[in-house]
Symmetry: C2
Subunit: 287 residues, 2 copies
């Protein structure tokens, strides 16, 4: 069984991205710029944001975190985002989740201009992806496909089963798979006889946030399995949605947790920021 | 076999819609207003637009068609749409397709404000539907589900197979089915062994524009089959994507062509226009 770690992808991709950033700087005369907005002190978010900033700096991007206390009025944050939207030297904006409860997610989703929506959360960005128009690829679902590309797997004409229908992973992933000519089976908590669906899959993607839920009996022998889940089991160990040991006996390939899809998300974010910087340069040229 | 005609739905729904329009007029002090923009002289479009205007008038809506010659600069049409966007007395705007070749579809898709996008073509509208946010339901896919509702069929927990992945029908239909808790199998021209997929479906939806392509061997005995296709066969007869006679021997229910899904689209358009008028009144009240 092939263990689909993301480290080799990352190690080969980061130098490329760094070179592309350097090239972009020569073209646009400044560093591609990412702004991360964070509200409150959620510890996991702090770590995640620091990690983004560090990696962005490592490849030569300009990354800044804009911080607000958890009791900030949502209108203050909205105005700050509006300022970043109109700043021609900012290419990508991301609002770190979770936000405090007095923020209405339906409103926040609309704050970042689609042209700077490198996290791909705005409904227009989602619609652009569905319709195949220019936009940004959602970071985690895009990461799943890039990792498969790296290891030489092609979903075209194959049966791809997605388990889970979150706005962040399941739904956009199904759309990307369809655009890549896979036949898509989309399953979720209301699916009857899940195993009869998942066992058809040449490519099985799981993003449900239920530790070790997918067992051997869910998997077709020889399938490629992509595990997007991250949770802790009873012993406090970090596990995916797939029972790794058991499924590795039957799958042809499987992404581990940790070290599989997780690190792909941030790489997608940086790639989207670079794409945005390049586009803004092209748009300036057109004018 | 049950023949799922849309006429009974239409006959029961139109009086309801008419009463709702009358109620809306009492609330907002004017008729809900739809504007249809048409460019050029495409005969099918002329008929379709006239039909929209007639039906809108019949239920008490204010409907106007804005006409341009086929050689109009696209910027002129864009400016006219911008004017309709900012007119507080216009609730819904629709740009009739096909447009002449000098119009770029990627641009045109963005002209109508999402708040007035009653045809549900704007990427933000598509993304809103995918994400489950307030917006408009795409007319034809929404019509498929309304017709099933009318006849008492519920897709929840069932296997729904969609054949076709157009931006107008297949993709939004798959999203609506998922939101209704169906397990969705999405097939298309690159699907291998199509019949092995479609035969799993409790509900089979076909929108590929290939006359009488779906035969008996594609259908599970007792399935409910919804045929969105309209084309002409060699004898010039209007047919759907489903071979009606043959499939009716095995399906539990089947929509005919013509007289099935076709007329549902325009009803969805009028319903969206009413919804938009009601929302604009609510938004005024909030202010």
């Amino acid at each position: 069984m092939k263990r689909l770690e993301s480290r080799p992808y990352r190690d080969s991709f980061l130098p490329t991205l760094k070179a592309q950033v350097a090239d972009c700087i020569r073209t646009i005369g400044r560093r591609p710029a990412l702004r991360v907005v964070i509200v409150g002190e959620d510890p996991a978010s702090q770590i995640y944001v620091a990690h983004k900033e560090k990696l962005a700096a490592e490849i030569g991007m300009d990354s800044l975190t804009v911080r607000f206390p958890s009791n900030v009025p949502s209108s203050t944050v909205r105005d700050a985002v509006a300022e970043l939207n109109s700043d021609p030297n900012v290419d990508g904006i991301l609002i770190q989740r979770p936000l405090p409860k007095h923020f209405r997610e339906e409103d926040v989703l609309l704050w970042i201009l689609p042209a700077k929506d490198v996290d791909a959360f705005h409904p227009e960005t989602v619609g652009r992806m569905v319709l195949g128009l220019e936009g940004f690829t959602p970071c985690t679902p895009g990461g799943c496909l890039k990792l498969l590309d790296f290891y030489g797997y092609d979903v075209r004409g194959k049966i791809a089963c997605v388990v889970g229908r979150s706005s962040i992973v399941g739904k956009p992933l199904a759309a990307l798979l369809l655009a890549r000519d896979a036949t898509v089976l989309h399953c979720h908590s209301q699916t009857n006889d899940l195993a009869s669906m998942t066992r058809q899959a040449d490519f099985l993607f799981v993003a449900i946030g239920k530790g070790e839920f997918i067992r051997k009996e869910h998997v077709k022998p020889g399938a490629v399995v992509v595990d997007v889940g991250v949770s802790r089991n009873e012993d406090g160990k970090i596990v995916g949605d797939v029972a790794y040991e058991e499924v590795s006996e039957i799958a042809a390939a499987l992404t581990p947790v940790p070290g599989g899809i997780g690190p792909m998300t941030i790489l997608g974010l940086l790639e989207n920021t670079l794409t945005s910087a390049r586009r803004s340069a092209e748009n300036r040229e057109k004018k």
